[in-house]
């Protein structure tokens, strides 16, 4: 080789390397996301919102002035609340409004910031990031970090609602802690957790428009909004699916759609929250008015409850403060309300002692940047941004919380080692707390003008709407509280007893009546069989499956129940009947299939609705090899099944195959920690023959159980 040739070949090599690098970067930057998007069937496009409009400087000042006046007016109203004579009150309010020191109060600092920065148009996150590109976050050791604000939001559970990290208090039925060291991490959280409360998956039920025919509209069609996206801060056409795929971040267009104001603006108008449709699909509108932007601050109870009202007091709670979500359903395409409260514990001041004391959510759930702690205990497979951060009564109330009653305080404090605060201080849930939800027998609802799922049992009473279980902070993969009686005889077994049997006569009777009502619309329904199946969901398991279940509980679950220190906690009970893919069934249940909301509400044909939902691209991908290997196999092993059978449950003729409707094999148990009442329970509410605690079922030896029912001190 001569010098010229050598130089030439080196040149070629260099070009090849640069080209190779360029191609790799190009593939990673542009082609890979595009390919992935088309594979999972999601679309992203620049998002616009009609209410994001620029104001003239004069309009800005008028708005600023009216916001400040409104705030002062409200304060003056509150201050004069005790004035009984309306005229005197009006005069007092007027005086206060003109009082110098009262008027000085500038409630919304952003009015001034915006004025100085010349911001007359709220354009979403880009406006916030003008100043808040980075933010200071104090970690658990008190160290301060400067972080990228957008990254902090996008990596939070509030945006991505899943996590591939460790830190789950959830254990698979195979005995492994979800995503713990030594296991292959998979994305787990609300985004991919099938659930019988909403009846759908986040992908298949993100943003839907439903055509209803309510009685009051005289035959006219009313469009209503429905879907998971109403409560999640992404503003795109689908949930933050990209964040759960390998080597992938949320695209810039999706980030620009994040709704900062729903958490940060107390004057956010929930009437702006409805589904809109454009060329790229359906998505949720949001309030991007300058009015909402000017009032921003740290989250308040009001802003948290814009979404969390749904799982606290529920959508049907009355007398909520102005602006609450259930009372502001949308300027158009009004959101469908969800009857049947998810947890049924109201956080309104009249039901919760902490709310009454003027406390805010973030007093206990102390944020670390945009990561908000949910505590170290958890049963429900919801991802946790700060798994080590405690949220507990003891942090404020100390280990000896009972102070005033000199006679009983020590004895009450004595209970703290075994009994959670919630067990005594949450005495009841709301009456519309849903316990049993039937998705397969929808009934026409005149008022809504749609076919609606049926709650065959709702109750807020102890022993019916919620029960008491030992809990050490661990949960099963299907939201069952795990724990064990520290002085028990080994008989405590909620997965074979409390969570799989409904025996309370009052509850059984109510279920029978509900089934009888269903029979009017579904004449083929066998009431006896219906009651049997719902009150004894294990009856649908084959004898082999039942044996396998018992064996797995003893071998895999007992060691997890025995960990740590268990206490008695109250748990809201829930079960649902949905269609299941029987190809993928195990001793603890089968993969439930989602409903397509419009088909369900409009046709009342649950099977057609399932078929429609199964047409969603990501559901098809779920039944293909890459998804099977990426996460479904591992998911099913946690579920107690050896692997995922990727056999799409619709046959060539378009019929569902191997799909059956069943109640889940055990009731889910959800933690209830809000709606705390000042007065706890009295001794005899537990320590008596008809007490709310079933000491035998809680695993006490028979003679100890008897003693606990008949304490000599109480005779």
């Amino acid at each position: 080789m001569n010098t010229g040739q050598f130089r030439q070949s080196r040149h070629i090599k260099r070009i090849a390397i640069i080209l190779g690098l360029g191609v790799t970067v190009g593939v990673a930057r542009w082609i890979y996301p595009g390919l992935l998007e088309s594979y999972i069937g999601v679309s992203n496009a620049p998002l616009t919102f009609a209410n994001s409009v620029p104001l003239e400087p004069r309009e800005f000042e008028t708005l600023a002035d009216s916001l400040t006046r409104e705030y002062r007016q409200q304060r003056a109203m509150a201050q004069t609340e005790n004035e009984e004579m309306p005229f005197a009150r009006r005069l007092k309010i007027n005086m206060l409004m003109k009082t110098g020191s009262f008027a000085k109060d500038a409630p919304y600092p952003h009015i001034d910031y915006f004025r100085k920065a010349g911001i007359l148009h709220y354009k979403g996150p880009e406006t916030c990031l003008t100043c808040h590109t980075t933010m200071k976050v104090t970690d658990e050791h008190g160290k301060i970090h400067q972080v990228d604000t957008m990254k902090d939001v996008v990596d939070s559970v509030h945006y991505k609602f899943q996590s591939s990290a460790a830190g789950f208090s959830t254990y698979g039925f195979d005995g492994r802690q979800v995503n713990s060291a030594g296991n292959r991490p998979i994305p787990v959280g609300k985004i991919d957790r099938a659930c019988g409360v909403p009846g759908s998956f986040t992908w298949t039920g993100w943003a839907d428009l439903v055509k209803t025919k309510p009685a009051h509209a005289n035959g006219e069609t009313e469009i209503r909004s429905e879907g998971c996206g109403q409560c999640h801060i992404g503003g795109g056409y689908h949930p933050a699916t990209e964040k759960m795929l390998p080597l992938h971040d949320a695209p810039a267009t999706a980030k620009a759609g994040i709704d900062c104001l729903i958490c940060h603006s107390p004057s956010y108008d929930m009437n702006e929250r409805y589904v809109i449709e454009d060329d790229n699909g359906q998505r949720w509108n949001q309030d991007r008015s300058l009015k909402a932007a000017l009032t921003v601050g740290p989250p308040t109870n009001k802003t948290c409850l814009f979404c969390h009202q749904h799982n606290m007091g529920g959508d049907l709670e009355k007398s909520l403060p102005p602006g609450a979500a259930p009372d502001n359903l949308g300027h158009k395409n009004k959101r469908l309300l969800h009857p049947g409260a998810k947890r049924g514990n109201s956080i309104q001041p009249e039901h919760d002692v902490h709310a009454a004391a003027g406390m805010v959510c973030t007093d206990c759930h102390k944020p670390q940047g945009h990561k908000i702690p949910r505590g170290t205990l958890g049963v429900d497979l919801v991802a946790n941004d700060l798994p080590g951060r405690k949220v507990e009564c003891e942090s404020c109330h100390t280990a000896a919380p009972h102070v005033k009653d000199e006679q009983e305080r020590a004895l009450l404090n004595g209970h703290v080692a075994r009994v959670s605060c919630e067990a005594c201080h949450i005495k009841k849930l709301r009456d519309d707390n849903t316990v049993l939800r039937d998705w397969i027998h929808p009934i026409w609802n005149e008022e809504e003008g749609a076919f609606v799922f049926q709650d065959v049992y709702q109750s807020g009473e102890a022993g019916r709407g919620f029960t008491f279980l030992w809990f050490n902070g661990n949960g099963s993969f299907l939201a069952n509280a795990l724990g064990d009686n520290p002085v028990g005889d080994g008989s405590y077994n909620p997965l074979m007893r409390q969570l799989v049997k409904i025996e309370d006569p009052k509850a059984v009777e109510a279920i029978r009546q509900a089934a009888t009502r269903l029979k009017k619309n579904y004449p083929d329904l066998d009431v006896d069989q219906y009651v049997r199946e719902v009150t004894d969901p294990l009856s649908s398991l084959s004898p082999e499956m039942l044996e396998k279940r018992k064996k797995m509980i003893e071998e895999k679950i007992r060691p997890i129940m025995a960990q740590g220190q268990s206490k008695i906690y109250p748990f809201k009970l829930f079960n649902a009947i949905m269609y299941e893919d029987m190809n993928n069934q195990g001793p603890f249940g089968a993969m439930i299939l989602p409903f397509d909301y419009p088909t369900y509400y409009e046709s009342g044909d649950p099977k057609a609705s399932v078929k429609k939902a199964l047409e969603h691209p990501i559901l098809k991908r779920m039944y293909e090899a890459p998804f099977k290997l990426y996460m479904m196999d591992e998911f099913m092993r946690y579920f107690g099944v050896s692997g995922w059978k990727a056999d799409y449950p619709v046959d060539a003729k378009g019929k569902l195959k191997n799909v059956e409707a069943h109640w889940m094999r055990q009731m889910g148990s959800l933690m209830i920690n809000h709606g705390i009442q000042k007065e706890g329970r009295g001794c005899k509410e537990c320590h008596s023959k008809s007490g709310i605690l079933d000491f035998n079922a809680l695993g006490y030896p028979p003679e100890r159980a008897e003693e606990l029912r008949k304490l000599p001190e109480l005779q």
Binding site: A400, N413, G414
Partner: protein
Amino acid sequence: MNIHPHLHPLALLLGLLFFVTPITTQADASQNKDGACLRCHGMPTLSYLDPATGGLRNLSIDSKAMARSDHKNLGCRDCHAAGFEVYPHFEEARRERLECLNCHQKNTNFPRALFESIERSFTRSIHYQSMQDTFTCFSCHNPHDFRMLSGQTRASLHSVVARDNGACRHCHDSPEGIVGRTGRLFSSLSQTHAWLPETERHWSKVRCVECHTGGDNARGGHFILGRNHAVRACESCHSQNSILATKLYRHRTREERRSAGFLHSVVMNDAYVIGMTRNQWLDWGGIGLIVLTLAGVGAHGLARYLVARRTRHENHH
């Protein structure tokens, strides 16, 4: 350690039964007798915040710790006499004032002189001097898990330190507790001990009283000294003649005597002596060195002898 080789296993078993049986029955009896009390007082969190001190007043009895304590043979009612029969307890129970010396001074089973000396040093301690009315034995000693230091071994050192320092820190770490008792606010322990290097490590390895009773053990562990008189010199402990030898490390002499015999422990006095320290490796190593030295000297002598003989031989020729 070997069990005596000639002892018949059956005899051993019988002997064990003889000793064990009465003790178990006794434990069961006291368990039953105290069952009613322990139904409440067995709750580990039976306690309340005492308005007088602001600190936690713990009423719970750890029956396992009690069973290990020096008072394990006593039932509740042996000490707590009147007013505790029913719940709520009678008013007289509230007025109960127990004192260690009720049993320990008038009872011939206990060395009277010891308790008198304790009383003498206690009455001179800073606690008694500044809080004569409220500071009692129970302010530091929990009679329900009390074990004398003499019963401790090297293995339990860590828990002894934790327990004893816990008694001090129970008050000294709680500003409310201190204010409740003394009426004034102290600086935090970490502030007052800022001069002490590796503070937390010291606190986890030695007891507060090692320094706060001074270098002279004759004063006794109950003559607690305030900040101005406590030991501050590092070399008081960190030296051959450590004051710890007569305090926290008392067990060492005892254990050493037990394992090595009285003579050994006196002769050795922390030094290494072949055959006495009974470290086979060191012994063999030492013997090896001696053998090697002797061999070296021998070889050298032999070589010199041989060389001398050869020289002599050559001179002959």
